[in-house]
Symmetry: C2
Subunit: 313 residues, 2 copies
């Protein structure tokens, strides 16, 4: 069995994902020392107060010194500058990874700057909530969720095995794939869902004939579901769309083409087409539940209680 314990883990950024890694690593004892860097004094203070890191540095350069595992947990738009900053001080033999939601652009942003003797393996834990910041993380975030690693070139097999074992030890299932394929898969399973969720919330906010108060009151009709992922971190998502342009535009083209078909069916009152399309989807949800990626409880298990005082029904 691979020894999964690291000496010093450096988390660059300590938001939802970084702080969840810190907690999971602490819980499973996967590193002797956990340090982080965070740009804002507030994040550093919160991370220290929560006791999830041993030291919180202002710069990535300070954090990575002596680290044998470095994970970038900031928005992907920051990666190239961080790669340049840390390259000169990375320890020989260190593994450098990340948690970004796009992978081709990340490989291009980080890869060329990595010195010989450092093992760069891009990664993406497909897990999260709509919350942000160091206080939002929790150790169980990665349990039963997939972590996709996208090793490229002649990556060291031991380093890949150790990084895989590290994610497994935090509860993840680990897959490897080509960065380009990752970006295509995540475009449909994550990026387009976020884009259309952000979009419909914007559309609703702009209406003249329907008041915002009405949108809020009657949101239980379905709209509220979309506001959850549309409450995700705007900087992170801006960077995702800027760095996965081609795959997102390809999938968006298909989505709008299909939507035009539905629009036409509504205009021409073609009930058979509507029924056929609406009947396809239950099977997919069933498979997602069977695969352990979703709760089987109705309404996501939202609480419906007789003594409910609001907010949980």
């Amino acid at each position: 069995m691979t020894d999964v314990k690291f000496n010093r883990l450096a988390l660059i950024g300590i938001g939802l994902i970084g702080s969840s890694i810190a907690r999971a690593v602490r819980k499973a004892d996967l590193a002797s020392e956990i340090v982080c860097s965070a740009r804002t004094a507030d994040s550093r203070r919160v991370a220290m107060e929560l006791g999830i890191v041993d030291v919180a540095y202002e710069t990535a350069e300070e954090a990575v010194k002596g680290a044998d595992l470095v994970i970038l947990c900031t928005p992907v738009g920051t990666y190239e500058a961080i790669a340049k900053e840390i390259a000169p001080v990375l320890q020989e033999g260190a593994i450098v990874s990340d948690v970004g939601s796009v992978k081709s652009a990340v490989v291009k942003a980080i890869g060329p700057h990595m010195p010989d003797g450092v093992h760069f393996i891009a990664g993406h834990p497909v897990a999260g909530t709509e919350k942000s910041g160091p206080a939002a993380g929790f150790a169980e975030l990665f349990i039963n969720r997939w972590c996709i690693l996208t090793p490229t070139g002649d990556v060291d097999a031991d380093a890949l095995e150790k990084l895989s074992a590290f994610w497994s030890a935090m509860g993840s299932k680990v897959d490897t794939m080509e960065p380009e394929h990752h970006d295509l898969v995540l475009a449909i399973t994550s990026h387009i869902p976020h884009l259309i969720a952000y979009n419909i919330v914007g559309t609703a906010d702009d209406l003249e004939d329907v008041t915002q108060s009405e949108v809020i009151k009657y949101s239980a009709g379905g709209f509220r579901d979309f506001t959850r992922i549309a409450a995700s971190d705007p900087t992170m998502w801006r960077d995702v769309f800027l760095h996965n342009k081609d795959a997102v535009l390809e999938m968006l083209g298909r989505f709008t083409e299909d939507l035009a078909q539905l629009q036409r069916a509504i205009r021409w009152e073609d009930g058979d087409t509507l029924f056929k399309i609406f009947s396809r989807t239950r099977a997919i949800r069933r498979q997602i539940i069977d695969a352990g990626q979703e709760t089987p409880e109705p309404d996501f298990g939202r609480v419906h209680k007789a003594d409910d005082k609001g907010g949980k029904a």
Copy 2:
């Protein structure tokens, strides 16, 4: 205080909503007798076995005899035929209502057939889950959810007050509005969200370069959220879109216009526009939570547990 208790409640259809009303009425003792009609023998058998109705009839005509409250709980496409069927046997003074997700078409389908002395008041409880059938209902479904009544013409004030009190007694908050306005509001808060959820699940299912297994494995990136409302009853939703065509097409036009703006911003790598649009939405979710229409818990309160065996993380 209005006496809210009815003598005989007839529920036409005993699916998720009908059976939830039966349970809530029983729990709050809002009717001396609860009967239903259901087209299939299976639904009648389940309803009787669950003990949520006193009698389950095959036809609406039998069920409404002697009823002082009749609620149509079938897909809206069936309403006109049911109205014609029950009209000759409705009891003088009875209140006839419904739970359909569209209201203008319902008023036109039912209203003209109602005899003098019967009080027709269309209604829509904005509540539900993705499950269907008599076993899926529960008494708490309407608690803290809005029920919209759309009285038209010279509706009897006492009948309206009694129907409002009935919904309040089941835990609902009650609003009244014009049917046309209801349809516009629900188009954006419910119908378009369902349409785009159905659509993206279809788009994902049709891909050639991404396998269905990949869509399922990585659905926690956001996609799985959409599969919930896309798992709703296809017949019900076909009828919604066939009967709220104008408002849905209007809102869909706005949605696609806004989506084109996002598409353009991605193509031209306009990060400022993306950030601006993505930053608008947290406030709306916050207001929905404050209004008691959504759980404040991250990830809808989906369970993330260390001992999770899948399906609930």
